[in-house]
Symmetry: C2
Subunit: 489 residues, 2 copies
Amino acid sequence: MFEAAELGRKISKKDFAAEEPGLHTALLEAQRQLRGTRSPVIVIVSGVEGAGKGEVVNLLNKWLDSRGVQTHAFWDETEDERMRPRYWRFWRALPERGTIGIMFGSWYTRPIIDRVFDRIDANAFERELHRITEFENLLIEDGALVVKFWFHLSRKDQQKRLKEEGGGKGGLPLKKFARNYNRFVAASERAIRVTDTGPAPWHIVEATDRRYRDLTVGRTLLAAIQGRLARPVGTGEREPAKPETVPREHRLTVLDQVDLRRRLSPRAYAQTLEKYQNRLHKLAWKARAAGRNTVAVFEGWDAAGKGGALRRLTAAMDARLYRVISVAAPTDEEKAHHYLWRFWRHIPRAGYVTLYDRSWYGRVLVERVERFAREDEWLRAYQEINDFEEQLVEHGVVLLKYWLHISAEEQLRRFKEREQIEWKQHKITAEDWRNREKWDRYEAAVNDMVARTSTHHAPWSLIAGNDKRVARVEVVKTMCERLEAALDE
Amino acid sequence: MFEAAELGRKISKKDFAAEEPGLHTALLEAQRQLRGTRSPVIVIVSGVEGAGKGEVVNLLNKWLDSRGVQTHAFWDETEDERMRPRYWRFWRALPERGTIGIMFGSWYTRPIIDRVFDRIDANAFERELHRITEFENLLIEDGALVVKFWFHLSRKDQQKRLKEEGGGKGGLPLKKFARNYNRFVAASERAIRVTDTGPAPWHIVEATDRRYRDLTVGRTLLAAIQGRLARPVGTGEREPAKPETVPREHRLTVLDQVDLRRRLSPRAYAQTLEKYQNRLHKLAWKARAAGRNTVAVFEGWDAAGKGGALRRLTAAMDARLYRVISVAAPTDEEKAHHYLWRFWRHIPRAGYVTLYDRSWYGRVLVERVERFAREDEWLRAYQEINDFEEQLVEHGVVLLKYWLHISAEEQLRRFKEREQIEWKQHKITAEDWRNREKWDRYEAAVNDMVARTSTHHAPWSLIAGNDKRVARVEVVKTMCERLEAALDE
């Protein structure tokens, strides 16, 4: 989930200076228009220690007109607060309609901290998270705009930042936080996953570069308020906010992290592939004996080599143990049901492997980009998909999700090759060329998909595919590793 | 919560025979119109053992056209089902758009049974219930109409019914169910409370009289389908279904159960009142020492004597210990917030008593009847209020909810008296007379309010108010009893 926030995104001093004044003015104008509307705006500032939440709060107060903003820092509960139900303090801090409330710390803080220090168990934690969802829904149904920021630092960057700051400000046990980084990130991932709803999505912001962090906050808040101003409120309709809206030029995606330069010689390929295929052969039987299902999802660019990679998996396994589901346009029967129905029906029995060539992720990829699904539909699909996969994983399914990545140049090369080689011509159509023109939009969709659906139990595997040999070995190897880990449990 | 389903509602053979043919025809016509729409209809048939769920399923199959209906009975899981995630069987059973699926047993059965037999703890149970809410929301967002029936029998009626049936059909441990009646009802109440959402409300049906039960099911289902046909689907807007729509003539309400004939002599009144007031005086100090908050809500008909009853409480307590909040029209500041905000702000510190003269229930009473709130707003308010009160109770607040009841005739007598006695004239306005004309609608609203918000921890106390002396003693006595129970814990 945090992969998309460890990309090293940066903005130069010059670019910052060029954009900041315009952003400042636009925020003031948006704030002016907000007055008199039925919408209070609730900005939640949260994230790992050291990510500069205080700096962000100060910046927002600098950018916005102080007459329409209130900041609330939720330190330890006062005696007055302890003597009342816990949400009392949050209700007291809610902004009036037409104004902005900045929540420094919030209803998220205590459940996460309690979970990190094992003061509550997993089920009690879930209950707290559902209470949050219900609280936010109640506010949203009443017209509120809820903008949630999570500021992320990698473990390494956090340690660096805490050292810079000399640690120990405000009596907070910074060292303790650093020691508990992994537990904190795991609990936070879960909290974000459960509360990342269509109408109140999380914005996970990479906080390593201060200028990138600040501009991202400004742009995201501006887009959210402008979106709300453009839409009527109080019709009972739930209007989802837009996800991250950073312009392309500053936008690294998770795909930029994939090292496409890796190459494998034919000989090394043959040897390694055989090694992993043998291993997979045995593991598939072992999984059958242990009654563990495996579900693998293949997504990727056109011509990225999904079919070839998939065949390297099936070649390794006994044909009785697996099934390949090719996902094409839905049948009439499938259209008569919820979009997830067609995938539920193919869930394998215990002990078997199902390989999906394209999958339920079509909802947030092609259906989003081609506008087959409305925005509110694909926005809520992230949570629907997470819920679905959670049920698979809870049942013991080993879930693999492959994205086969190639560069735009490599795709072009392969398209041209396909046009020239007669027996490959059926593989290239006008639609492939049209899709290619939407590369940027697909790239943004893939980034959001990974950011919102890559979880600890169901991570995305981004496969470098410019060299098909590298991709094929990686696909088989990944399945071996995941099966080994699962069967060892 | 089940008070409104233990009223002894009945329908005569003659009335049934007069209505059934028309209902049957109307259902067939609604079903015909449903075809070709985007909405599947999911009918959930659940409730206590012996309530005749099987009979209802058979009846629906008789009434409806078999070409558009499928019935699914969820017996014990098959091996095929056990080998897949639990919701797989439910997904498989979902009806196609434009058709009706009758679910005999459902996703509710196992969590409730597991809880009854202590196979899962309270938090795990909550998690299952939230999973259900999310599942139903996902279906509803996709266009489904979910109609949920819960058939209720009192413990006595259940035992009678099970004896009639000779017990033990289908190998189900009926005796065990009867033994566990209280645990079952408690778990069911919780399940209904958490999953009783605006778009998928529960219909709790009194099942003692078969004809009443059957006509209620038919009418409710018909109204729900007709409501859906009248509204466009797929706009992203969540359209709540209407609550119970039984015509007035067959409609007993919880208020009919209140015995208004009780009288108390002036002398008995003086003695009993003094006894309970003395007791309350001590209890209020004891609660203060124990740090327990008390919140009491006063609702009731105009001229039912709320003010007088409330003063009998305050007269008993030290003035430092309580506060009275008179809820009038909201201030500008209050209007700028969520409707619950004004009530949250007055929540007392530990150890104190707050008396609300009218309350948050205005949302589902006056705002509903006078159409100040939209239907989707007051429908979802039941859950918002339950959530709010649950937070109070969890924090240790002793929560009392009084409805002061008088007959329509008694109200008329008091209105006239007020007009004639000069110093009482300010208490009667044209609005009071207008409200009186809406007596039936208020009565239905009160019944729904009690049915949906009277829970084990926050029950409604319906006070017989035709004799003011009876009412005043009862109000003070009830608070004594609740405080004693709470302080004894």
